[in-house]
């Protein structure tokens, strides 16, 4: 994405406006934010991921994620030859500090970052007994830490393993798509720091979002499509061996 002077000036003005509202205390959202105008998801370009773990570290810092638990993580796959059904996978500390080189060479190796898929038809929100987790009007699956009982039914119901119980608050927790950032015009912490552009926040309701063009010209997949959860994290370049 090359920056024209005009584009830069426009961006600066918008950024300054957004930043002003951020600096002026911690507002609930940018003043002109209208929830019904957005429908968020994410695009993951697997072919670009270098497994640096920047996303995992940034998420932890941005969201005060406790050690040993992960709102997002990176997995490394090693597929030997044609055995797609039995890859070797590892994710040391969620990939937070990168990956040590494997001694075994050959075969196919790649990284897969994962997070909550913010399913439009999410099984976790279906099973919550009290309404502590829900899909927001802008498509983000959120947890209300002031209402959650900590029963962990949602943790069991998530097919992707993205939820956990925060030991400090004793409530369920997971990726919130940096709701406190995206409602202010910023992008998620993980997308912000991703050095290769693997992770990109998308807004399906924004007609100018590049996702629309991307979907027309590329083949994408979601994880575990047979779970029929209407996951909104799309993966480009996803291999059949990915669990």
């Amino acid at each position: 994405m090359s920056m024209t002077r005009r584009h830069f000036l426009l961006l600066t003005a918008a950024a300054a406006a957004a930043w002003d509202s951020v600096v002026a205390g911690t507002p609930e959202a940018a003043p002109n934010y209208n929830r019904s105008e957005h429908w968020y998801g994410m695009l993951m370009n697997i072919e670009k991921c270098i497994g640096c773990g920047s996303c995992v570290r940034a998420c932890q810092l941005e969201n005060k994620v406790p050690d040993g638990y992960y709102r997002t993580w990176v997995e490394r796959y090693h597929v030997a030859d044609w055995t797609v059904e039995s890859p070797s996978v590892d994710s040391p500390d969620g990939g937070k500090n990168g990956f040590v080189e494997l001694k075994d060479s050959g075969g196919k190796n790649f990284f897969v970052p994962k997070l909550c898929n913010h399913c439009a038809d999410s099984p976790c929100t279906q099973v919550c007994p009290v309404g502590a987790t829900f899909v927001s009007p802008d498509g983000v699956v959120l947890v209300d830490p002031n209402y959650c009982l900590g029963c962990r039914y949602c943790v069991q119901a998530c097919p992707y393993g993205c939820r956990f119980l925060n030991p400090a608050t004793e409530t369920a927790e997971k990726c919130s798509l940096c709701y406190h950032r995206i409602t202010k015009g910023l992008t998620t912490a993980c997308c912000e720091v991703c050095p290769t552009g693997t992770r990109q926040l998308v807004d399906f309701k924004n007609p100018k979002d590049p996702i629309h063009e991307f979907l027309k010209t590329h083949s994408v997949l979601v994880l575990k499509p047979y779970m029929a959860t209407k996951a909104k994290v799309y993966y480009y370049g996803l291999d059949g061996s990915v669990r």
Binding site: Y70, V89, G94, Q126, V130, G131, A132, Y147, L165, R243
Partner: protein
């Protein structure tokens, strides 16, 4: 907390979420459902032979039902918020709806039925006892001392209707627990339409065993002869219910082995390694095949009374162990394997922790303590002399 992991697990899956308390909970509600079904055998299906256990079965159901929410409360991250399930229940959540099923069953079925059954006793004790007890019994009668023939007739009729409603309610009470597991598509060990049915039949098996054992035990304690016709009948119902339960579980197993879907290899490995003792040896071997065989012998061959008593006792205890093992294998087993089907974790059960072994043991003993209190307050047997003996003997 370091947990030994074999293979690959999604990072958040390593720690188990549902502990031994969640194993205990369906075991307890299962006993409730089973005990109630046994009680209904006499009340609705007029199986006269089991009448000696009728009141005991009701009290057993109540004692266990009162304890049932406790493991859940201990398990919750924020138990002080548990009332939210009644204030803002999420209608799409099986767990939320279960809160109402529990409440309905406790108040609308069990308490009403016990009250109607015991009303003559309550009135008599309200009039004959003294001090605190007198006030207690007076409160329980709700101020009505009407024991006319017509009133008793009405009680009988209403009690019969309550039991009729109670049978599907008991099915719902425990079937729901099975549904809570069986409806989770994310977990292939749990996700099967057979789950509520298997849970229900294993509940009936455990409940019937428990009442049979309690009846035999209380007869021994009261130094009264065991009504063998009663116990033989119960054992017969236990045997046939157990056969159905075993068949259902085998159907599920065979189906899985035959279909061999993507989860099969991972689950099969888990059963043969981490669940070998609890599933193959305890649940299937000692907990099902042995008691079934023992009961089958008593059904086929006419054995002397003493032999039958021993066999029923052993079979009953093994059955309870087997059904507990089944709950363990479902709950814990369902969390030992990764949803990536590439790895396994380990369950580290604490001892003196909120969800550890000690609270589980205490909660297992508590229903018997409550039952003892209930038996004292609402004696199942119409023998004042025996009451005094018991009081002295304790």
């Amino acid at each position: 907390m370091h947990v030994p992991v074999e293979g690959f697990m999604y990072p958040n899956e390593v720690e188990l979420q549902w502990s031994v308390l969640i194993v205990l909970y369906p075991f307890i509600t299962g006993l409730v459902a089973g005990a109630f079904i046994l009680a209904s055998l006499e009340r609705v299906f007029r199986v006269e032979a089991v009448k000696p256990t009728y009141r005991l079965a009701l009290l057993t159901a109540l004692a266990f039902l009162l304890v049932a929410p406790l493991p859940l409360q201990l398990h919750l991250g924020r138990p002080e918020r548990s009332l939210e399930m009644y204030l803002t229940p999420h209608r799409s959540s099986a767990m939320a709806m279960f809160g109402f099923v529990y409440l309905w069953y406790l108040l609308g079925v069990l308490v009403v039925e016990i009250w109607l059954e015991y009303r003559p006793d309550l009135v008599e004790m309200a009039q004959s006892s003294a001090g605190v007890k007198r006030w207690l019994y007076r409160a329980l009668t709700l101020g009505s001392y009407n024991l006319s023939q017509r009133a008793i007739q009405i009680d009988d009729r209403v009690g019969w209707i309550v039991t009729i409603i109670g049978i599907p309610s008991a099915f719902l009470l425990h079937g729901y627990v099975g549904f809570i597991f069986g409806s989770i598509k994310a977990n292939p060990w749990w996700s099967t339409p057979l789950m509520p049915v298997v849970f229900l039949f294993s509940a009936m098996v455990s409940g019937i065993s428990a009442v049979m054992l309690l009846y035999m035990l209380t007869c021994r304690l009261r130094r009264r002869p065991i009504d063998m016709r009663c116990v033989d009948t119960i054992a017969m119902y236990l045997f046939y219910t157990f056969l159905i339960d075993f068949t259902l579980e085998m159907v599920d197993l065979i189906h899985r082995i035959y279909e061999a879907d993507e989860s099969f290899r991972s689950l099969d490995f888990m059963v043969h390694t981490r669940l070998y003792f609890s599933q193959i040896m305890l649940q299937i071997g000692f907990g099902t095949i042995v008691p079934l065989s023992l009961l089958a012998i008593t059904q086929l061959v006419r054995l002397p009374e003493l032999f039958r008593k021993y066999i029923y006792s052993v079979a009953g205890i093994l059955t309870l162990i087997g059904i507990f093992a089944m709950r363990w294998n479902v709950v814990i087993g369902g969390q030992l394997f990764s949803k990536s089907f590439l790895g396994y974790t380990t369950y580290k059960m604490g001892f003196v922790t909120r969800e550890g072994l000690l609270p589980a043991v205490v909660l297992s003993i508590l229903p018997f303590v409550i039952l003892w209190v209930l038996v004292k307050a609402l004696p199942p047997w119409h023998e004042p002399a025996a009451l005094q003996q018991e009081a002295q003997g304790d």
